[in-house]
Symmetry: C2
Subunit: 259 residues, 2 copies
Amino acid sequence: MDERVLLTGAQGRVGQAILGGIADDYEWRLLDREPPAAEPDHEFVVADVTDEEEMREAMADVDVVVHLAGDPRPEAPWESVLRNNIDGARVVYEAAVDTGVEKVAFASSNHAVGHYETERKPDIYRKSSEFRLDGTELPRPSNLYGVSKAAGETLGRYYHDEHDLSVVCVRIGNLTKGHPPKDYERGQAMWLSYRDCAHLFERCIEADYGYEIVYGISDNDRKYYSLERAKEVLGYDPQDNSAEYTMGGELKDDAEREE
Amino acid sequence: MDERVLLTGAQGRVGQAILGGIADDYEWRLLDREPPAAEPDHEFVVADVTDEEEMREAMADVDVVVHLAGDPRPEAPWESVLRNNIDGARVVYEAAVDTGVEKVAFASSNHAVGHYETERKPDIYRKSSEFRLDGTELPRPSNLYGVSKAAGETLGRYYHDEHDLSVVCVRIGNLTKGHPPKDYERGQAMWLSYRDCAHLFERCIEADYGYEIVYGISDNDRKYYSLERAKEVLGYDPQDNSAEYTMGGELKDDAEREE
């Protein structure tokens, strides 16, 4: 309860999944470019992550930053990801160093490595496939958004090596509420339940690490991302598995298919 | 002689090393942001690599692009490398795809992986050290310039995977004219002679490849960068070795110490 956590992009989907699970466990400072949609339960700062001064102010007395803000669209145009995602990450790391923040958890993406699937799909999405990415591989982005996320990871490496900031990059899979996407093998392979998402970021706030790249997915039978590093370094203990929803035809019809 | 090669940043040090060795072997189109310092021996275009339209025009009828342009200072400020190096690389790859260029050789840098040396130096610079980087490792930039070069590599991976552009990223070591830097073990470990530099880029123009990251150094006894990939894929056959200059005290006094 004593840790103060700045959550950037608090009103986005990942932010809502995190707050849905661990809102009561920390002293949150929520940050978003847009004013709160409803009366917020926590301190709320309206700021742009590319504004150095605003970000330094937002990090006053903060222990951990969970940095989710940025343009979340896989099809986002280059100028937007260049400024909001790449420069935004740099501003966040720099402000974290300047203000004495201990750790930054950076929301990276499956799109940073999306092209590993090319020529391997759809086999790669199936339980029978032994193929695994473990976070030591070079990026192979599937779009310019993925390029921007890979750049955010590299920036994190630099701020760790140069300034001793603890940084964990979470390559988030397919976060959907309630149940995994229907009729979408890729989404089932990289499903991240809201419950596991909140738990994973709780581990990013709590654990000790230097610099890490981990995959953020549930313990899906179909997975081709290794969870070993997240389990070993962070103590991640996922509870969900998309196979439990997609076998036996139990999946509900209102499945949202989201990134 | 029939290949037309666009050389961006032609008036920089790497460009001069390349032209010093293979100026007569190709039909060059030189490009620089600054007008030619002297009457040029080749077609010369004054353009900024961040200008999409200028770059598309500069690539008309071009087979290969050797992309050296950018802010070359290891201590360059972020806004400069963000625009000139990261965005500049994106513009070059994009224009290459748009205009049907076959290959892009991208000048990356030892600074993309400089922090692998931390806690390993100075042993890593010595002949007795077995440590090798081979281009499969994740970046560990030593500065924001290095971050920008790593981002240029990732962009190249994306344009290769997505658009089938052939891309080779050359992590250039310490290029100095005449002889290796004196009293500077790191510089001797990653020395690249002008002769080997010109030959290496000749191989980048000639060889067949998909996407590659190679190290651009001479065959130095002190090396901690593997040359295997450059030899195997490009047919690189370096002639120089900094040890030949630095043993027996033969090194001249006017050694320039350059990046």
